[in-house]
């Protein structure tokens, strides 16, 4: 065992200082962590990351703590299951007309969201998120810059987005929501007049369509008053890699395997932007009777 450790240490030492020697070129892939192919790193991408197993802390105490957390989550889930569908009594499921999904009152609410911008492809937009005044809202702000990164293949640039983290239950299992009681998304926002795009990304595990996205637009007013925007789910259209598909279908809400809800700004206008979000919720708008807004005609009619 000590011999093996010595050999390994010797091997890594050798690979560290003799990486370019031809002698070790045959053992290169085994000893060093250089890739077998040349990889192009985009200007905004982070430099070579540590391998994922090097990040893990293999301490025993930490694993016991982790197990305890997961078991308590599992216990909570079992108790919720005993109460009724979705952790609430059935009467609540049958009677509810509104539900708040995300609200921004503390830092841990902000941690449920991830912000990103075109820096990842080498652009120059900036985006930040912080809690607004009196911890009553989240403020997403930044600067949009449509300057195209000069890597020879990108044609457009200039976008910023905020996406929710997918919810996981005990033991990192995916949580599926039942939003079948509701038919609209309800947002209380205060924007600056710029148009935003609301995107819903569903679980691609079974359909393997990793680029599918259901989107719709949110036009903000910009005044000092808060706006309550209702977007019916029947209006969300399907796009894949940004291209609107011909074959449209509505979002199914019963086993809403929604992984993320996201807001994106990409209206090709350089300059600062701001969006304050108070809460995001669901609404059962009984006056909205539309099932689906697109492709409502009958396809494949018999000749």
């Amino acid at each position: 065992m000590a011999l093996a450790v010595m050999l390994l240490n010797g091997a890594s030492f050798r690979s560290g200082c003799c990486r370019h020697k031809v002698l070790l070129s045959s053992l290169g892939p085994l000893l060093s962590n250089s890739k077998l192919y040349s990889s192009y790193r985009r200007p905004g991408a982070e430099p070579e990351k540590k391998l994922s197993w090097q990040n893990v802390d293999f301490s025993f105490k930490k694993s016991i703590d982790h197990l305890k957390t997961q078991l308590s989550l599992l216990k909570k889930e079992t108790q919720d299951y005993l109460k009724g569908p979705g952790g609430n009594p059935l009467s609540q499921h049958l009677l509810e007309q509104t539900r708040v999904l995300w609200q921004f009152r503390s830092q841990e609410d902000l941690n449920k969201w991830v912000i990103s911008s075109d820096v990842e492809i080498g652009g120059k937009s900036k985006v930040y998120i912080k809690l607004g005044r009196n911890n009553q809202a989240a403020l997403l702000y930044g600067t949009l810059n449509t300057e195209v990164p000069r890597d020879g293949e990108t044609k457009y640039s200039g976008y910023c987005s905020m996406r929710s983290r997918p919810e996981v239950g005990s033991f990192n299992r995916k949580k599926y929501y039942d939003w079948s009681n509701f038919n609209s998304l309800y947002l209380r926002v205060r924007g600056d007049g710029r148009p935003w795009m609301v995107n819903i990304y569903t679980d691609p595990y079974f359909s393997h369509q990793k680029d599918d996205l259901y989107s719709y637009f949110m036009f903000t007013r910009g005044g000092p008053y808060w706006e309550e925007i209702t977007i019916p789910f029947s209006k969300f259209f399907l796009s894949s890699r940004g291209r609107v598909q011909d074959n449209q279908h509505p979002v199914w809400l019963d086993k809403a395997s929604f992984l993320t809800l996201g807001f994106t700004i990409g209206d090709k206008v350089d300059g600062p932007f701001q969006l304050e979000i108070d809460f995001i919720g669901l609404l059962n708008d009984r006056a909205h009777k539309e099932k689906f807004a697109y492709e409502a005609y009958d396809k494949n009619t018999p000749v």
Binding site: Y81, G84, P85, L90, H93, L94, L95, D178, S180, N181, T202, P204, F206, S207, Q209, D212, N247, H249, W252, D254, K255, R286, A287, K289, N300, P302
Partner: protein, 346 residues
């Protein structure tokens, strides 16, 4: 769907079922099962929605694995006994593997996980075919090999199915999933009596098929998919909803209705075979499924839902009520007095 394609799929389903039912060689039985699996996949994924594709994927993977296990069990039996006759499946290991394979095909616990998701992802008529017609070939295979199957395994599967079918159906709000769990608990009842009196298994299956067809067709007429829609479906066809109440109670097995007949006969047969504790246990476990049937019945007819003034009550259905629903409802509700005659037929 394109009528010619629809014709091919329906004809393939009928062909596969007929091949399996009328076969006496294991390979032909397996052929029929595979034809059935392949023919129903386009019907499940008709709408090309990601959820329908998910349902079709789950269905295909489990059914293909189960078919392979059926073939494997028949091969090991042929290796040990030298013949491929379906009724002569005598080797104990083959019987065990076959029971597990058929349990996977039918949706008996612990191989039931695919069933609610597949029913939820498919349209109502395809769900009907999945619950009734696709269960007939595996059921006939069980019937033909019933004398050599392991009683302990079947009893365990049956009691677990009744238990889990009841428990997991309690928290559901999507009606197709509730019907999936009702199917699982009925399959438990069918499996428990298989060794002692296989004809009762078939009787239970036929009556269950009739009652489930009624429920599915009624839900298809009123276009109801979830519990909250069921609450306001009475405005579309009030008399149909009243009959749905009676059909649901019949599915639950309440006495003056038809659904009581198979349960009564099964309990009687189990008691005669010295299995009174099993009979008690499975009856108590079917109380759980009674709860969700009652909940469905309550939402259908007994309660008026809370609605605000801006809630539009739907007042018409898209298509006229199927004549078949009338006949099937009558059969599924009023057949108990004719039980001596039914016993002679089955």
């Amino acid at each position: 769907m394109n009528p010619q394609a629809n014709l091919i799929f329906i004809a393939s389903l009928l062909l596969g079922t007929t091949i399996t039912i009328s076969s006496n060689h294991w390979i032909m039985a397996w052929t029929g099962l595979e034809i059935n699996t392949l023919a129903i996949l386009p019907l499940i994924s008709k709408s090309h929605h990601p959820r329908a594709i998910e349902a079709a994927t789950k269905y295909f993977l489990t059914q293909a694995a189960a078919s392979a296990l059926v073939l494997f069990s028949s091969m090991t039996n042929a290796w040990h006994t030298g013949q491929w006759d379906i009724t002569q499946l005598t080797h104990p290991t083959s019987c065990l593997i076959l029971t597990s394979a058929i349990a996977m095909k039918l949706g008996l616990v612990p191989f039931h996980f695919w069933f609610p998701e597949v029913l939820q992802g498919s349209p109502l008529t395809t769900g009907l075919i999945l619950s009734t017609a696709m269960k007939l070939p595996p059921m006939t295979l069980l019937y033909m090999t019933s004398s050599s199957l392991n009683p302990t395994l079947l009893t365990i599967l049956a009691i677990l199915s009744a238990a889990l079918g009841g428990w997991m159906g309690l928290n559901q709000t999507q009606i197709r999933k509730i019907l999936a769990f009702s199917s699982i608990s009925h399959l438990g009842w069918m499996a428990i009596i298989l060794i002692y009196n296989p004809k009762l298994t078939l009787l239970n299956f036929y009556l269950y098929a009739v009652m489930t067809t009624t429920v599915f067709l009624t839900l298809n007429t009123t276009k109801v998919l979830k519990l909250s829609t069921l609450l306001t479906a009475w405005t579309k066809a009030p008399s149909l909803n009243t009959m749905l109440l009676l059909t649901l109670l019949s599915l639950a097995g309440l006495p003056p209705l038809t659904g009581f007949l198979p349960k009564w006969l099964i309990i009687q047969e189990l008691t005669k075979q010295d299995m009174a504790p099993a009979a008690t246990l499975i009856s108590l476990l079917s109380l759980l499924s009674l709860f969700f049937y009652l909940r469905l019945a309550y939402c259908t007819t007994i309660t008026l839902p809370p609605h605000t003034t801006n809630h539009m009550k739907q007042w018409r259905t898209n298509k006229p009520t199927n004549t078949a629903i009338a006949i099937l409802t009558t059969v599924s509700v009023m057949l108990l007095p004719a039980s001596p005659m039914i016993l002679t037929i089955v």
